[in-house]
């Protein structure tokens, strides 16, 4: 048996190999070869003309000329981009409910969070964070001189009946606000009941863009970002990872096609080229046409806005040599579901796939506070957003000087932006008491609510699939996305 290489010995050999690999490099071309450039660029006749002309003119430095031409071409591209409508953030301002509302001097919040059913595991960190916020507010003296009251409530298992029962009970108890729901669909089931009773609905986890424009009497708010912002975060990631050409696949349907659009727009703004854009029937048994289109276009990256069926597409792509190892493959984690990787028969099928989830990372310090309450907590998703939702309502009530939901709602956006920055309930409350305008920056980020009552800056988690076809938590990164 030959000698085994020790680690040191191996490192020496690997250094030799690396040096051998780079040692054979050809001479550095003094300039970029002109004919090559002309063939390679896909910039249309104008850009080619510029490049060819630059070479023909024979300027002193060929490199300089080429680069100047390239720069001019880039400037042209800039001009084209600038001709698009300017990208501005959503409008800013306070909510303006028109209903009258009642006050009784104490802030009462009713929970509408998943305690049972499929989403119960998602509910645990939210429920713990809501209790933590209430406890901390009350330890600091409460709101309007009285303790905040929190009544837990179950949003059930996607059955609108269960959610409606919980909401009815909260409204009957005189709740000023309902905290929830987690799922956008559940929120849409109850939003009219809550807001037409002139109460606040505040969700820590809804991302449907539909809720931005919903006719809510200016009483619906959320700390989770709209999917529009998530699309921007995903586009940022795709471009930052060096991808220039992108294929987009979406199942037919308003939601998924919307998501496709929210991904496509920021990609375009950042100069990435969308080379394939297709929608498909999610009930189809084969996705050959979509697979063929992607393979033929051979893009740097693929984005799938779909659900579980995305694994069938990815398996079919892998059979054609298009793998997440060599291409960027991106999904929306809340769509495919965290257990999506397990639907791959082939071990390693989704390794390298990345996806976004619109939740901020919980700081170690915040995790400790949550774990003190709930030692079994495994996941912290939407915990920061839930905590912030409660704190924001408490601060808005302090600023309004009443628990009247219409008045509280009028003060919510303002406590998240513009004014003296503060990060805890008691610090912010003291500033309000001193007559200051405040800017609460919470556990989930700077918030900075738009007039529609949702964050314009939000944390987004970037998750990666690793070995075992599971999300590898050690690879998770958190980024901030903003309008």
């Amino acid at each position: 048996m030959p000698d085994r290489h020790t680690t040191d010995r191996l490192d020496i050999e690997l250094r030799r190999i690396a040096e051998a690999l780079v040692a054979e490099a050809p001479e550095v071309p003094e300039s970029l070869p002109a004919n090559h450039v002309v063939v390679r660029l896909h910039g249309g006749p104008r850009r080619r003309y510029l490049l060819v002309a630059a070479v023909v003119v024979g300027v002193v430095s060929l490199v300089g000329a080429l680069l100047a031409a390239t720069r001019r071409a880039a400037d042209d591209a800039d001009v084209r981009v600038n001709q698009q409508p300017a990208v501005t953030g959503p409008p800013v301002g306070e909510a303006a409910p028109t209903c009258a509302g009642d006050a009784d001097g104490r802030l009462l919040i009713g929970g509408l969070l998943p305690e049972t059913g499929d989403l119960a595991s998602l509910g645990a960190p939210m429920i713990a964070a809501a209790s933590l916020a209430v406890e901390e507010i009350n330890a600091a003296g409460g709101v309007l001189g009285r303790p905040v009251e929190y009544i837990p409530g179950d949003s059930g298992d996607g059955d609108p009946e269960a959610a409606n029962l919980t909401v009815d009970s909260h409204l009957a108890a005189g709740a000023d606000a309902v905290l929830g729901a987690a799922a956008s669909g559940v929120s849409l089931d109850v939003i009219d009941t809550i807001t037409s009773a002139c109460r606040i609905q505040f969700s820590p986890a809804n991302t449907s863009p539909e809720l931005t424009d919903h006719d809510d009497g200016d009483l619906y708010f959320r700390t989770a970002p709209s999917d529009v912002l998530q699309g921007r975060a995903l586009a940022d990631l795709i471009v930052a990872e060096g991808n220039r050409t992108v294929a987009l696949l979406a199942p037919q349907g308003a939601y998924s096609e919307g998501l496709l659009d929210f991904t496509k727009r920021p990609l375009g703004e950042q100069g990435a080229e969308v080379v394939v854009e297709r929608t498909y029937d999610p009930e189809a048994t084969s996705f050959d046409a979509e697979v063929e289109a992607v393979v033929a276009a051979d893009p740097d990256a693929l984005v799938m806005t779909g659900f579980a069926e995305s694994s069938i597409i990815l398996n079919a792509l892998a059979a054609r040599g298009f793998t997440p190892d060599e291409h960027g493959v991106y999904v929306y984690i809340d769509n495919v579901g965290p257990a999506w990787g397990e639907s791959f028969t082939d071990p390693g099928g989704p390794v390298g796939v990345k996806g976004t989830r619109p939740t901020a990372g919980a700081t170690d310090e915040f995790r400790r506070r949550l774990l003190l309450r709930e030692p079994d907590l495994q996941d912290f998703s939407y915990g920061p957003e839930t905590y912030d939702a409660v704190i924001i309502m408490a601060l808005a009530a302090e600023r309004a000087g009443t628990d009247n939901p219409a008045e509280v709602a009028r003060n919510i956006n303002g406590v998240t932006r513009g004014g003296e920055a503060c990060a805890t309930f008691d610090e912010c409350r003291d500033l309000i008491a001193g007559g200051e305008d405040i800017d609460y920056n919470g556990e989930s980020g700077p918030l900075e609510f738009s007039a529609a009552g949702e964050p314009t800056v939000a944390g987004v988690a970037i998750l990666s699939y690793g070995a075992d076809n599971r999300i590898d938590d050690s690879l998770t990164e958190f980024r901030q996305a903003k309008f």
């Binding site: 070869p33 720069r71 880039a74 471009v239």
Partner: protein, 159 residues
């Protein structure tokens, strides 16, 4: 605010002069001698023409990533073009006279990412954090590629 185009172009030419040698060596490690210069030119031209270039803070990292991505594209295109021909042998891409034939084969059999990580670790002396930044992939993925590449090469060296 826009700087004068000529000034920017001069600046770009300077960046190219400064970084081309090391980028070319990197490209060579990825795709081999015959294609390295083409990959470099193509990557640089695309990078400079991109709308994001003027705002790029770390140009060296950006260009390494551009070369890396161009090499991947190049390999895919080459694979399509050469489908009917025999797979280009390692000897065509790198002569690597210093290495035993079986080790040479093992080097050629590494994935491009693995080769990139090996070169940046053992030639450029970068740690996984810096490599991750340079290639635009996660640190965990750098560590994985490095571990797998080391395991493969150890096998070949021990054989």
């Amino acid at each position: 605010m826009r700087t004068d185009a000529a000034e920017l172009a001069a600046d770009d030419a300077d960046v190219y002069r400064r970084l081309a040698p090391e980028l070319l060596r990197f490209a060579n490690a990825l795709v081999g001698r015959s294609d390295a210069a083409d990959v470099l030119s193509s990557a640089v031209v695309k990078a400079l023409a991109s709308a994001t270039w003027p705002a790029v803070a770390n140009r060296r990292a950006y260009l390494y990533r551009a070369v890396f991505n161009e090499a991947r594209r190049w390999k895919r295109r080459a694979a399509q073009r050469l489908a009917r021909e025999a797979r280009a042998s390692v000897a065509d891409r790198w002569e690597l006279p210093a290495l035993r034939p079986d080790v040479r084969e093992a080097v050629g059999a590494l994935s491009m990412r693995q080769r990139a990580v090996i070169v940046l670790t053992y030639w450029a002396d970068l740690d996984p954090t810096a490599i991750a930044e340079r290639l635009g992939i996660s640190e965990g993925s750098v560590r994985r590629h490095l571990a797998r590449a080391r395991a493969r090469l150890r096998e070949a060296l021990d054989a």
